[in-house]
Amino acid sequence: MIRVVLPAHLRTLAKVDREVQLSVPALVTTRSILDALELAYPMLCGTIRDHVTRQRRPLVRFFACEQDISHDSPDVPLPEKITSGSEPFYIIGAIAGG
């Protein structure tokens, strides 16, 4: 199972705790994680990426194994620690504003 950590406001929307676990098909990528997340929690559609363009929202960032992968292609395979579930995939609201 893939572990995903959500920012606080999205946890409230999805009515979940800090971390959710998802079944994601092989070749785990940012795109496949987001696809699985939105399938399981459709109330999150449009909050992380645009409905139509599928582009990441400007103030949302993605981290894997302590690396900022927000600007990587969403189709790049993610590290083994993410695919094995030993490390979570982080979705973070950018630090903006006081």
């Binding site: 406001h9 459709p42 559609c45 909050t47 929202r57």
Partner: protein, 391 residues
């Protein structure tokens, strides 16, 4: 036993204030959707337990919330757990997609502040207007300016693109707060007629249920424009009607309070003796179609009352002659603003009037404005106030 339910949208959540018809003692519930900007909530006239809410965030975008029990519980329409492929659309209640079909109309760009062409980009829902007759039908006024409609309780939204496509859309420019469609008035006597207003494009009317639109800005004068009497480009802040006289529309423009008696075909200024005719909100007494309320604001760069005195002005003559209403309102060191969607009236016999401020106060008057009392004093900055009169 009658009661009222006041729906308050703030910068950091929604609040629901309830009272019996005396409106002396209030229960305060909230914050709902804590930490999110709540631009607007509004209840359905067809089913008062149905309330629509616009929830938004610079980080996570637009959310539509819906209540079917008067605001006790909320749901994102169509946002429940996925039950399997092939079902109804899921998770699309916040999907506002502009119509870019090849209509031959300039639907792809509007003007930016500097006059260059700028693509239409959805940012948020400013105003939700439920149908007068069907609880599952509602209209959404959005930024960048466009009008959307749902007929399935907010599960899906579709643009009424005849508005942007009627011919002047490419020349619309944003106001200081953005290119927002903020006012939607439904004519209770004619289901095909609707008024809308956009900052800073002007007022528009449809007479065929939203298929086609025309600008209704004749008589407006805006000195900031190269052509002060142009067909569009006016920064209309708010429109208001009395249900019994839907052809008479009052307008708080950027500067000037205006009135039309022929459904917008011709406007005339009724600012009269107002100390400043800049402001955002305007509303009409529930039982006196010629009694109108505004909150004058000092100027377009100084968004607070003149002399630090919070005064509602009332005209009992449909404009021109105005009197200040001050009893119960702060008359020194008050520098709050009252936004365009933050004034409303109930329909009880003695017509309650309500408004909210950027200082977090929500005031009410139960005697036509002669005196005011705060319902709450310390909410986050108030963006909108609506009231439901419950029988």
């Amino acid at each position: 036993m009658s009661a009222v339910r006041v729906l308050v949208g703030t910068k950091k959540g929604a609040f629901i204030l309830t009272s019996d018809a005396k409106r002396q003692k209030w229960d305060v519930a909230g914050p709902h959707f804590a930490g999110w900007e709540i631009y607007h909530l509004k209840g359905s006239a067809a089913d008062p337990d149905r309330i629509y809410c616009s929830q938004s965030s610079g980080w996570f975008g637009q959310i539509i919330q819906r209540s079917s029990d008067g605001g006790k519980t909320w749901e994102q329409p169509g946002g429940g757990m996925q039950k399997g492929p092939g079902g109804m659309p899921m998770g699309e209640s916040n999907k506002f997609v502009y119509n870019t079909s090849p209509t031959g109309h300039p639907l792809t760009t509007h003007q930016w502040y500097d006059g260059t062409a700028h693509p239409w980009e959805f940012k948020r829902v400013w105003h939700l207007e439920p149908s007068l007759h069907d609880a599952n039908t509602a209209y959404a006024g959005v930024e960048d300016a466009a009008l959307f409609r749902t007929a399935d309780g907010g599960t899906t939204w579709h643009e009424l693109s005849g508005l942007r496509g009627h011919g002047t859309g490419a020349s619309w420019q944003p106001g200081a707060g953005g290119l927002g469609l903020h006012t939607i008035l439904l004519d209770p006597t004619n289901p095909d007629r609707m008024y809308i207003a956009i900052s800073a494009a002007g007022a528009f009317r449809t007479d065929d249920g939203g298929k086609t639109w025309k600008p209704i800005n004749k008589g407006l004068r805006s000195e900031f424009m190269p052509n002060p009497t142009a067909e569009v480009g006016h920064c209309v802040h708010r429109l208001a009607i009395h249900p019994s006289r839907p052809d008479t529309v009052y307008m708080q423009k950027h500067w000037d309070v205006m009135r039309t008696d022929n459904a917008g075909d011709q406007w005339r200024e009724v600012s009269g003796n107002l100390p400043t005719d800049f402001g955002f909100c305007i509303d009409v007494h529930a039982h006196e179609p010629e009694t109108v309320y505004v909150v004058p604001i000092k100027s377009d760069s100084e968004h607070y009352p003149l002399e630090g005195k919070l005064r509602v002005y009332r005209s009992k003559t449909g404009g021109d002659e105005w009197e200040p209403l001050t009893k119960g309102l702060p008359q020194e060191n008050c520098y709050v603003n009252v936004y365009r969607d933050a004034m409303c009236v109930d329909t009880l016999d003695d017509c309650g009037i309500y408004f909210g401020t950027t200082g977090g106060q929500v005031y009410t008057s139960t005697n036509g404005g002669d005196s005011w009392n705060p319902i709450v004093r310390d909410l986050p900055a108030v963006l909108s106030v609506e009231v439901q009169t419950l029988k």
